[in-house]
């Protein structure tokens, strides 16, 4: 597969390390989260058949974490974002 890196352009997916669903960015707030929230965060997945937002690490490149929107039925990639920007946009800070 080829991942179109926002900064570096098309790169072979073999350069990347796959983590999983981009929901892993949404780590529960330790102050307020219930055990159920933690269980859902760590263990439950949508596992969609279709467009999925997922985390790839550019191990063999610029060491950026990317959020890749990829179709799990066709492998078509429709969007690639810098995970750091996504995390900030979702309100994560320190």
């Amino acid at each position: 597969m080829i991942i179109n890196h926002p900064l570096l352009g098309p790169r072979d997916s073999a350069e990347f390390v796959y983590l999983g669903d981009a929901s892993l960015i949404d780590r529960p707030d330790p102050e307020t989260a219930t055990p159920e929230d933690w269980h859902a965060y760590a263990y439950l997945r949508d596992n969609v058949a279709g467009d999925m937002r997922e985390l790839w690490f550019h191990e063999g490149g610029d060491r950026s974490w990317l959020v890749v929107t990829r179709n799990t039925l066709t492998h078509e990639i429709s969007k690639v974002e810098m995970a750091r920007d996504v995390a900030r946009a979702q309100g994560r800070s320190k």
Partner: protein
């Protein structure tokens, strides 16, 4: 032996003669021959045996779709089983042998199977060999296994090398036939980067096997001109002998280029084949079409081949399949074959055409509305039995029979991403479907455009569309209409073959239907239709058609089996490339490696690292002698160990401390500058991930060490935290593992030794540089270095780091300066022994299932702050009263052995899984205690010190009485490390 079937013309070079051997017999051929064409020229039709019935077989085709003529090519370690004689390029000295026969090709004892074929129908083995149960492995299966298989491996290491490479292009054109060449001529003019690949050693596709003219000149002239023009274009790369084996995601194609297979002796070191990963922005498939046979009784005898293949042999290779040839066809293409053969002086016995309105000929007899119903000839065709239109029978004498059932577009690559071809009724064939791999288009015969003129036009036009350029003008040439009337098989009473290699007959398909195996996948799996080395390129469609007829469905309703990569079978060596033997993975060497080698160190693989395991001294015959000595010397005086392999990560930024507080389960915010602290990292699921130390060199600068094994994983994990969870934290990360040579200097005299090399302005006395101190210093008169006072061995110890290129010199200096202390280098074994003696956890304990609690560090998990894994580590299942706890183990009898991997059972009572209480993770002989000792996990272990238990290891036949002890075998109070 003379080439009695040679005819005039063709593209073989008669000026040179090649000698070659088949089954020990010598023959001659010419450059431009394939093994099959040369054998035919020598009047050899019998080239192989079928898989199941061991029926005699000759070539059915002239290309890579060949099911029958497969041989063992070459000898010794270079023997290559299952090689298609129809694609093997002839060279001088070629040696080939037939396979899957015994004792010889002509007299094959296994042909007995053919007599019993009636018992060996599709799926018979599922219905028998069941009683008695034990007999399957003992009796039935060995016989079946021995009989199965085609060619044999040499069982020697493949002596050839293979390369892998990468190429990039704007347009990849697959197939250099009429459509492909026109596409390339068009694309070349666009100036974009073009690759034109063809599996054949000669470009031109059908053009070089046909006699018609292009622009009133022989087609071959046009091909030569086209190749000449393309060769002159810097933006075009021509890749003959290159099979595009697969279409993978996002325009990545696998292609295998054969470099030396056609050479007698290639220069030493030349790769045999290269696997190219071609990154193509767009791809045009112009792979042509494959002719399909008609099934009739005994249609598998040597001499019976596809009519188009016959044209290839006669026109391209100048080899007639026999002196006297008959043709069986349901379309005009068969007549073209007859005409071509006739023109070469081959006697046409007759043309049998299933159509009542078959075209007439003045040159030879045409039997309209007739069918071949059977054939004769034990090792090769002698007669064909023909049923005439009026129902009367007639025997036609012939040494070869050309069969033409029409053509199937080569849609294979269009299916590699699970796109399904669609049925075209006019052509009675599958054509590329709606869902092609993105970026791919198809032209020419592969698209179902069977006229040469049409193929050329489509190739040019589609290439022009794809690149937004002008189509190269197409020449005028053969432009016959190409509708096909389907005709699949002749109803008979004997056996009519569909899959010739796997011996699947029309009867088998009928039986499959009768027993309910009616979906195309069931048909394939139950009868093995299309599972042979030719992947059913010539047989699938026939089986499909018959199943459709039986099911009363249209062919597309029955469906088609998906073609999967590779397009043709691919050498495993080519897919592996250079990654084999010692080059399987890269090797990482430590800075002291060359020095250690001089010392005669024994090395061990630790991940990709090579580390010194121990340093034998003269007179030491057993590894234990060396290891015990290294331990004793270190504990008695001083030892040095290369610990460069530990991961080192530079953590900087104003939030560096906060960051480490999140990464480690224990606190780091308050760590003073100039201090180091042990840290335990958890995964988010609360399980221990890695441990190490972090030294604070400045308010905003830490140096983190990881275990050797987890360096990469921990770095990723840290970047995840930095970029995905805490994007605004001011922290910067970079690995410095490779940059510093780091040595542990351990033992009571370690300070004295270091004082000799550390520059005097740095005070490393116990007060000036206490336990867990760290600092930037200089050594040997000004070389920048880092010093940490940390201990893995349990002794007074330091770790000193200098820039890698000075590591070798520093080790030599430490050894020289240490002589007065009887310094010893120690390897990973002694390191392991000392850490077990001290009770430090390592990889065997941090095994991905243990928690801080299990490791006896439960209290380290700070509740005062949030850190990765702290929350989920609180789950009940990880905090049971009888949770496993790390303990030490000692044999009751000091002479007894302890083994890692052993399980702990109550001293008396049953020994089984239900009574399992724990297990041993690490074991070693402790010179300090003069006994074997071990670390392990025991249910509620921390409260069971002093208990006597049984250590059992049935798989190594060991049972030992052991005592549970503290896992700090040496210096439990830690006085030494603080000395």
């Amino acid at each position: 032996m003379t080439q009695i079937n040679r005819v005039s013309g063709g593209q073989i070079d008669r000026s040179a003669t090649f000698k070659f051997k088949f089954d020990g017999k010598s023959y001659t051929g010419h450059p431009g021959d394939t093994l099959a064409s040369a054998l035919l020229a020598n009047n050899v039709r019998l080239m192989g045996r079928s898989f199941k019935y061991h029926r005699p077989r000759g070539p059915l085709t002239a290309g890579s779709e060949e099911p029958n003529a497969i041989v063992e090519l070459g000898e010794g370690a270079r023997k290559e089983p299952n090689t298609r004689a129809t694609t093997a390029e002839l060279f001088d000295g070629l040696v080939a042998n037939s396979q899957n026969r015994w004792p010889s090709l002509a007299f094959d004892a296994m042909a007995i199977n053919d007599r019993f074929s009636n018992f060996l129908t599709a799926g018979f083995y599922y219905k028998t060999f069941m009683w008695p149960a034990a007999f399957w492995e003992k009796l039935y299966e060995p016989i079946i296994r021995k009989a199965a298989g085609l060619g044999s491996l040499s069982m020697q290491e493949d002596p050839d090398v293979y390369d892998k490479g990468f190429r990039h292009c704007d347009l990849l054109i697959v197939g250099a036939g009429p459509a492909g060449l026109m596409a390339a001529l068009t694309a070349a003019r666009s100036g974009q980067q073009i690759i034109l690949a063809d599996e054949d050693f000669a470009f031109g596709g059908r053009l070089i096997s046909e006699t018609f003219s292009v622009d009133d000149a022989p087609a071959l002239d046009w091909v030569k001109a086209a190749i000449a023009e393309l060769s002159s274009c810097p933006n075009v790369r021509l890749m003959p002998r290159t099979t595009v084996i697969g279409a993978f995601d996002h325009g990545i194609y696998g292609a295998v280029e054969r470099i030396t297979d056609h050479l007698r002796n290639a220069p030493a070191g030349t790769p045999r084949q290269i696997l190219w990963r071609i990154y193509a922005k767009q791809t045009l498939l112009t792979a042509g079409a494959t002719e399909r046979p008609i099934a009739f009784d005994n249609n598998d005898r040597p001499g019976i081949m596809l009519a188009g293949a016959m044209r290839a042999y006669v026109n391209r290779f100048g080899a007639a399949p026999a002196k006297r040839v008959a043709i069986f066809t349901n379309n005009d293409d068969g007549h073209r074959t007859a005409a071509d053969l006739h023109a070469k002086g081959v006697k046409i016995a007759s043309v049998i055409d299933t159509r009542p309105d078959a075209p007439k000929s003045y040159d030879y007899e045409v039997l309209s509305g007739a069918q071949v119903v059977n054939t004769m000839g034990r090792l090769g065709l002698t007669f064909a039995e023909v049923k005439l239109a009026d129902g009367t029978m007639r025997t036609v004498e012939c040494g070869a029979l050309g069969v033409s059932g029409g053509w199937n577009p080569n849609v294979h690559l269009t299916c590699h991403q699970r796109g399904r071809p669609t049925w075209n009724t006019d052509l009675a064939a599958f054509v590329p479907g709606g869902t092609l791999p993105p970026g791919m288009r198809v032209a020419g015969a592969a698209q179902g455009i069977f006229s040469t003129q049409g193929a050329m036009q489509s190739g040019a036009q589609i290439a022009a569309d794809m690149l937004g350029t002008q189509a190269a003008p197409s020449p005028t040439t053969e432009d016959a209409p190409t509708s096909q009337t389907p005709f699949w098989y002749v109803e008979g009473c004997s056996r009519a073959w569909l899959d010739q290699q796997n011996d699947v007959t029309v009867k088998d398909v009928k039986l499959s239907h009768q027993e309910g195996f009616r979906s195309v996948e069931h048909l394939k799996r139950y009868t093995t239709l299309g599972m042979a080395t030719d992947q059913g390129k010539t047989s699938n469609i026939g089986g499909l058609a018959i199943m459709a007829e039986l099911a009363g469905k249209a062919i597309p309703e029955v469906g088609t089996t998906i073609f999967r990569p590779p397009y043709t079978p691919t050498a495993i060596g080519a897919l592996a490339g250079r990654m084999r033997g010692k080059d399987f993975h890269p090797t990482r060497l430590t800075p002291s490696h060359y020095w250690a080698k001089e010392q005669g160190a024994v090395f061990v693989e630790v991940g990709n690292w090579l580390r010194a395991q121990w340093f034998p001294r003269p007179g030491e015959t057993h590894w234990r002698e060396s290891v015990d000595r290294e331990v004793r010397q270190t504990r008695a005086s001083v030892g040095v160990c290369d610990c460069t392999t530990l991961g080192k990560i530079d953590v900087q930024g104003t939030d560096a401390a906060t960051f480490l507080n999140k990464i480690y389960c224990n606190g780091f915010a308050k760590l003073a500058v100039g201090k180091t602290r042990y840290g335990l990292m958890l995964r988010e699921d609360g399980i221990a991930m890695d441990d190490g130390t972090a030294g604070r060199l400045a308010e905003d600068h830490f140096v983190v060490t990881t275990t050797t094994a987890n360096a990469v994983k921990v770095y990723q994990h840290m970047e995840f935290l930095r970029q995905c969870l805490c994007p605004d934290m001011d922290v910067q990360l970079i690995s410095t593992t490779e940059g510093w040579a780091q040595y542990a200097v351990a033992g009571p005299n370690s300070r004295k030794l270091l004082q000799k090399i550390v520059d005097p302005e740095f005070d490393i006395s116990n007060d000036g540089f206490p336990f867990m101190a760290c600092a930037n210093i200089t050594v040997c008169g000004g070389l920048r270095a880092r010093l940490f006072r940390i201990s893995f061995s349990g002794e007074l110890a330091f770790e000193i780091a200098v820039p890698s290129r000075y590591g070798d010199a520093l080790m030599r200096r430490l050894m020289a300066e240490g002589e007065e202390f009887d310094v010893t280098p120690y390897g990973t074994e002694a390191l392991g022994v000392m850490r077990i003696e001290k009770g430090h956890a390592a990889g065997n304990e941090l095994n991905g299932t243990t928690t801080a609690l299990n490791l006896g560090m439960g209290r380290m998990v700070s509740k005062a702050k949030d850190s990765i894994g702290s929350k989920l580590s609180e789950r009940d299942g990880l905090n049971r009263a009888d949770a496993l706890m790390q303990i030490g183990i000692k044999p009751v009898d000091a002479n007894d052995k302890i083994t890692a991997g052993g399980h702990l059972m109550a001293k008396d009572g049953p020994v089984d899984a239900a009574h399992d209480q724990g297990y041993v993770t690490s074991a070693a002989f402790s010179p300090s205690l003069d006994s074997m000792i071990g670390l392990g996990f025991l249910k509620n272990g921390s409260t069971r010190v002093g208990e006597k238990m049984r250590l059992v290891s049935p798989v190594t036949n060991l049972t030992v009485d052991v005592e549970i002890v503290s896992h700090h075998f040496v210096d439990p109070e830690g006085d030494r490390v603080r000395a």
